[in-house]
């Protein structure tokens, strides 16, 4: 097979000292960028973009790509240890990951995150290697109605994330949608909820909101509760921390999340953030261990971590074959390619095979490097839970401010982060869950855009939404899921009332 030969040649190039060095640098920087709350791969790639004037194209792109997928390895670290997401794609990892940390199983969580990321990332790369062109065409055929269907399906997850009170969950989601409205209407530029302020016209940055709601709130709460350490469990050396039985248990989750993450990653607009939520939710529905989700189920860490890495591999499909970046980080990477005069698109594979296959080969190598980097570090990271909180807390706050400022070079964003820290405290007191808010924040812009575009495409009527099979199927699945979940809740509520009356 031609592709094998091309890939092997790519490996022989990627294994040169220079390319190995830059893959390593990118992996380390990516992990760092992922760990630091607020600073994501977009900022990391943008900051290093000027190096494109100094380096030849292959090592530079190898390094920038490594930052992108490396960040998905690093993001889970702070999520698990401190309930603080490194970036949006690590938000859902906090749920089960931090529970595991509190139970003294931080090392297992970190280890499975690394292993899951590796397996999913590598499998995703194989998809990229062998199936790019047909996948890219499939991705193109997903137009606004199909994206709308997908978003409706994703929104059905609000029901399962609402905890005990569905009303509070929906309130949280509604709040998220309200926050989304602030700024300019994405299509015609009308200002909404800006109160005449130019700054508000730029909207509220969602990284700032998420960092506020999770990181800041967590610090405020822990400081208020005078937490001394996160966990007092004794920890042994790292290789004794990982149990094979747990890895086997998670394999199902890893494979399922790889498939979800990879295919969704090919679609424009499907960022790793959205994909992690969907993979977690799907896993919760299909896993044998579903009762433990939310209480420290290892699959609850394996699924989102696998999904976000498969998604990064998937994201390269439309980027390299069509020149369409499905997320902002890849858009920056695209500009790096253009600076070298390398136009990604259908002809890139034909005209620049050496470049393409060397970069793809180095991504396999990068994933191996990241696994090697992250596993032994598991022991060191895990020990951080024993560092007195009064050292950690100020550092977290510092990095949050730096990170949120760096997104748009805006002090307003850093301020937003702080304000949402307090809002997060308030929501906690009222027992309003914050996950639906985050979900709505991510999904609402996509929903608005795709719905309006679909209506315009259809000449002003909604009929287009049910005239296209894929869109219809997705929306149907969404409604069905909602119905099933609501029914399940209704039955549980009835059972509780029944038990209550029996006891009387």
């Amino acid at each position: 097979m031609d592709i094998f030969v091309l890939l092997l040649r790519g490996f022989s190039n990627a294994l040169s000292l220079e390319n190995l060095f830059f893959a390593l640098v990118g992996s380390i920087l990516g992990t760092l960028v992922g760990v630091l709350p607020g600073i994501g791969p977009t900022a990391g790639i943008a900051m290093l973009l000027p190096l494109t004037t100094l380096l030849p194209p292959i090592p530079a792109i190898i390094m920038l790509a490594a930052i992108y997928y490396g960040a998905m390895y690093g993001g889970s670290t702070t999520s698990i240890l401190m309930n603080i997401p490194g970036e949006i794609s690590s938000v859902i990892t906090c749920v089960d990951g931090h529970e595991m940390a509190k139970q003294g199983r931080a090392a297992q969580a970190l280890a499975i995150a690394a292993i899951s990321s590796f397996i999913a990332g590598t499998l995703g790369l194989m998809g990229l290697t062998f199936f790019s062109p047909p996948l890219a065409d499939l991705a193109l055929r997903m137009g606004p109605p199909e994206i709308f269907g997908l978003v409706v399906f994703a929104f059905s997850m609000v029901a399962s994330m609402s905890g005990k009170s569905l009303l509070k969950g929906v309130t949280s989601a509604a709040l998220g949608m309200l926050i989304c409205l602030v700024g300019l209407d994405p299509q015609l530029g009308a200002d909404r909820l800006t109160f005449g302020s130019v700054t508000l016209m730029g909207g509220l940055d969602f990284i700032a909101i998420i960092m506020g709601l999770f990181a800041m709130k967590e610090v405020f709460q822990n400081v208020g509760a005078r937490v001394g350490l996160i966990s007092t469990a004794r920890l042994g050396s790292w290789w004794r921390m990982i149990k094979w039985s747990e890895i086997k248990q998670s394999l199902g989750a890893i494979i399922r999340s790889t498939i979800t993450g990879f295919f969704l990653g090919c679609l424009p607009g499907c960022t790793p953030g959205i994909v992690t939520f969907m993979a977690y939710d799907l896993e919760k529905k299909f896993s044998k261990n579903r009762a433990n989700f939310g209480k420290g189920a290892i699959e609850g860490v394996a699924a989102p971590e696998g999904a976000n890495n498969a998604c990064t591999s998937g994201g390269f499909v439309p980027l390299l074959t069509l020149g369409i970046p499905p997320s902002t980080s890849l858009a920056v990477l695209l500009s790096g390619l253009m600076i070298y005069g390398l136009q990604p698109g259908p002809l890139l594979f034909e005209k620049q095979p050496v470049f393409v296959w060397t970069v793809i080969a180095s991504m396999y190598i990068g994933n191996v490097m990241l696994l090697i980097l992250n596993l032994p570090l598991v022991g060191i990271w895990a020990r951080m839970v024993r560092v007195p909180y009064h050292f950690i807390a100020p550092l977290i706050l510092l990095f949050c401010f730096i990170g949120t400022y760096s997104v748009r070079n805006s002090f307003f964003d850093a301020g937003t982060c702080l304000v949402f820290g307090f809002i997060g405290l308030f929501m906690d007191k009222l027992k309003i869950p914050s996950l639906p808010l985050v979900l709505a924040l991510i999904l609402a812009p996509m929903m608005e855009d795709s719905l309006r575009q679909s209506i315009s495409m259809g000449g002003g009527s909604l009929a287009i939404l049910w005239s296209r099979p894929i869109a219809l199927a997705l929306m149907g699945a969404g409604f069905l899921t909602m119905v099933i979940i609501l029914f399940g809740r209704y039955r549980r509520a009835k059972a509780e009332v029944h038990l209550g009356t029996e006891e009387n």
Binding site: T53, P144, M201, T328, G345, D449, S456
Partner: protein, 326 residues
């Protein structure tokens, strides 16, 4: 007594010396210069900023930092540049969207007088190409116009809202054919990339976008170019006629990028940049770098740039109502 006089003289001299460098006007720049790009990294304006930045660091050893300040269709970044200290260390990556288009399409939102910036030079142009989906039955601009007239409300036209060339390019075309906007379905997207992806996927039928962002799709034959707004045919698209050849010489929406500064920029800063940019536009290295990001080098000095922007403003003002300006 003598001591205090000498002391006072020393103090005065040392304070004055702080101003001397700027009063003399050299050397400049002594530290990195920030260039504000009012859009996200990866977009057309960002690429132009990095083009300038890359060129200046390579050829002159001058560090030009691209600072992205996106938001509000460009208003946030421009406001930042307009209110910055005019000391030459904060400049604006100016373009069609941060000047005339902003003023014409978002007049209610500008907390500044847009003409008051220090215009320095326009460096590049990005021609607009009208494109249709690959399997469309219409092959020329006239075909498209006929199709719309015979089949109202069928054509799906992709545009990018109030900032960007897509909306005005389309509207000019429709007006030239006496087609009113309710005969087409305007589908709005948040950027050039999604419009082109939708066109390639067959979800929309027609659009007009800049050459740079369209190149990948054009090269890969995922979209069909039917006319280009330029003086002569593009070297890499020899089969694509110009709008003049197609009978529409009045269509003239295009993108451009250049450098401006906050109002009141000292003369020595203006002279420096004008001199260097003037040299750059003759330098084959700059041409090579611009070609890589698919931009055509087209230099205009400060006065010409200001006049050009004013002309564009009048042009866009005429289109504003249809674009949806507020």
């Amino acid at each position: 007594m003598k001591g205090t006089i000498i002391l006072r003289l020393l103090i005065i001299c040392s304070i004055l010396s702080l101003f001397s460098a700027q009063a003399m006007g050299e050397p400049y720049p002594t530290k990195p210069v920030d260039i504000i790009v009012s859009y996200n990294p990866g977009g057309g304006a960002d690429l132009s900023g990095r083009l300038l930045s890359g060129y200046f660091s390579k050829v002159l050893g001058v560090q030009l930092n691209v600072i992205n300040k996106p938001g509000a269709g460009g208003v946030i970044g421009v406001r930042e540049a307009m209110t910055a200290r005019p000391d030459g260390y904060t400049m604006l990556l100016d373009c069609h969207a941060t000047s005339s288009m902003l003023a014409a399409f978002q007049p209610g939102k500008l907390p500044f007088e847009w003409r008051k910036r220090t215009w320095i030079a326009r460096m590049t142009k990005d021609p607009v190409i009208y494109q249709v989906r690959m399997d469309a039955p219409y092959k020329t601009l006239k075909d498209v116009a006929e199709f719309i007239k015979k089949n109202p409300k069928q054509l799906r036209w992709g545009a990018t809202g109030v900032s960007g060339v897509g909306s005005p390019a389309g509207i000019q075309f429709f007006r030239a054919n006496n087609i009113s906007l309710d005969m087409v379905n305007r589908v709005m997207f948040t950027g050039e990339s999604p419009v082109l992806a939708a066109l390639a996927g067959g979800h929309i039928d027609f659009t007009g976008q800049q050459y740079g962002p369209s190149w990948g799709m054009l090269e890969g034959k995922k979209v069909k170019p039917i006319a280009v707004i330029a003086g002569k045919r593009l070297p890499l698209l020899r089969d694509v006629p110009t709008v003049a050849e197609e009978g529409y010489p009045m269509l003239d929406v295009h993108g451009w990028h250049g450098l401006s500064g906050p109002p009141g920029l000292p003369k020595y800063v203006q002279d420096y940049w004008l001199r260097e940019l003037e040299k750059a536009h003759r330098d084959p290295v700059f041409h090579e770098m611009a070609e890589k990001v698919k931009k055509e080098v087209a230099f205009l000095g400060p006065k010409e740039m200001e006049e050009f922007a004013e002309q564009e403003y009048q042009k866009y003002l005429a289109l504003a109502k249809d674009v949806g300006a507020k």
